[in-house]
């Protein structure tokens, strides 16, 4: 029984991380019609920042580091968007290719700067002791991670549904031309959303550090998961990203625990199913 509980919690925490990762991806795709292949690298950059910072400066707080990493990655993302992506407005394929190129550059840069060994990220001291609930033992940090993901989901939901910025984003997702025509500063919106997505991914990277560690190839492990979540949950739908993240979290965790060699095929199946019967994803508003 303890096994199932642990796997269940692992699924939830992975799902939470995936949500943090793919919410940004989904927003960027929904608004900018851009499949941001750099997204996995943004996450990994955050993980490396967190791991290296906390290794070199003992006593750094995980939460502050996450925020700091988020800001740095957001800034990098913003530079990239302004300097490179805006020049390719008329070349959507080109945009995707440069995000791929950027992913390669970032992942190799991490290798050059911090070497090929994996660097762990320590769990915060006050969360290291396990929690006892209902007679079972839970790793506290993972519980907290789920809480953070839910909080982020609520915050994003409020942002998108209840603020002026969110209204502009929704308008842009629905009809970019129209949004421009009614005076919404679409270019600036693009930069904001890209920074937001990148920043969340970077912060999530730090938060995922205690579970995943920073290692070369983390980006290549995370990006396809984000892709599958978005394909499954639907593009431009935060709720779809939320649901999809937890579905994938469960499938991946239980799949790896029960059938380690076939975990990837098991991930594969719901994606195929959804594409076959509902190509716009479970909750998508924009058709892929």
């Amino acid at each position: 029984m303890q096994f199932w509980i642990i796997q269940g919690l692992n699924s939830l925490s992975l799902g939470g991380l995936l949500f943090l990762l793919s919410s940004g991806f989904s927003l960027i795709f929904g608004l900018m019609r851009l499949a941001n292949l750099t997204h996995g690298a943004f996450f990994m950059l955050g993980t490396y920042f967190g791991a290296v910072a906390m290794r070199d400066y003992s006593g750094l707080d995980l939460w502050l580091t996450a925020i700091g990493a988020g800001i740095i990655v957001a800034a990098l993302g913003g530079l990239f968007e302004r300097l490179v992506l805006t020049r390719l407005k008329t070349n959507p394929l080109g945009q995707v290719l440069v995000t791929l190129g950027m992913a390669f550059i970032i992942s190799d840069a991490c290798l050059v700067l911090w070497g090929g060994d994996s660097i762990p990220v320590p769990t915060p001291h006050n969360l290291q002791a396990p929690t006892r609930m209902f007679g079972f033992v839970f790793p506290t940090y993972r519980l907290v991670l789920v809480g953070i993901a839910v909080a982020a989901a609520i915050a994003l939901h409020i942002l998108i549904d209840r603020t002026r910025l969110g209204a502009m984003i929704r308008a842009g997702v629905d009809d970019r031309q129209m949004a421009r025509a009614v005076g919404i500063p679409v270019s600036r919106l693009f930069t904001i959303v890209f920074c937001l997505g990148a920043g969340i991914a970077g912060a999530a990277g730090v938060l995922g550090g205690p579970i995943l560690s920073a290692y070369p190839g983390l980006d290549a492990d995370m990006l396809p998961l984000a892709l599958i979540v978005v394909i499954l949950g639907g593009i431009g739908s935060l709720f779809g990203a939320f649901v999809g993240s937890f579905i994938i979290g469960f499938i991946y965790t239980f799949g790896t625990a029960l059938f380690p060699e076939l975990a990837y095929i098991i991930l594969f199946l719901p994606m195929i199913f959804v594409i076959a019967f509902r190509p716009q994803g479970l909750f998508g508003r924009v058709s892929a």
Binding site: L37, L88, G94, V96, V98, G101, D108, V112, Y264, A288
Partner: protein, 311 residues
Amino acid sequence: MKWIGGALIAAALLLPPFVAGDFYINLASQIFIAAIFAMSLNLLVGFGGMTSLGHASYLGVAAYLAALLTTRYGFDHGAAAALSILGTVAMAAFFGVIALRASGLGFLMITLALSQVLWGLAYRMSGITNGDNGITGMTRPEPFGISLESPVAFYWFSLTVTVIAFVLMAVFVSSSFGSSLKGVRDQPRRMAALGFNPWMIRWITFVYAGFWGAVSGLLYVYYNKYIHPTSLSTTSSAEALLGVIAGGSGTLAGPAVGAALVLLLKNYASAYIERWNMLLGLVFLFIVLVMPTGIVPGVQKLTSRFRGRSS
């Protein structure tokens, strides 16, 4: 004029075994393999208007199948080659049905996700694929009893396959089907209104591109006598895509030239720089930002601007 060009190309292709050293002959063989791979991808990208980031799937799976069938299950090369191609084409047919539920970026994402799944499988299913160690001990076939061990022999072999591939692909794109493919790329709605079946045309092309991807995979594993999960990586697919863009997706031969350039760059750069991926990424940025239609038109533009300034 065309005769001179043709003669030069023929000379460039026929001379190396007689004048060049083993290193360059091997490099040339690798170029042929990359050329077939890139040309097959361009059937999708340039002629079909479908950009895929998962083409390495076909190269990798064919290579793995051939390696497994010969080294582990004792099949002879002829049967192994036939089965590998059949298996890979069947997979392409299946993947095509999935990927073609979307178009544009959705298609791209699905092909990427599918190939990443295969890459992950290659690492994880170490019982079958040997994981990170790859599969070693592959031998080269002996068509008609001729050994392909020497670099020169393999050069002639890969050159022959490349020429055959080029001719068959050229026939394909100039046929009525090929014209309908280009039509579907440019005006899918009108083509449907005229009686063409856009989905079927795209799917058949997808499978055909997968076939030639599989062929390049066989050559790849014969050349290296070894296969590793990196052959299924996004980097592998991206290199082919870069070759297509750099060489120009508008012609059949352009991607072959582009693939050659990418391979040469990779080879020479790795002597000075350790991190190929970073260089690849930078080249991607450069090409897309500065020369999006390919190196040849890009260079022409730059030189005419240069000439304009100095005159």
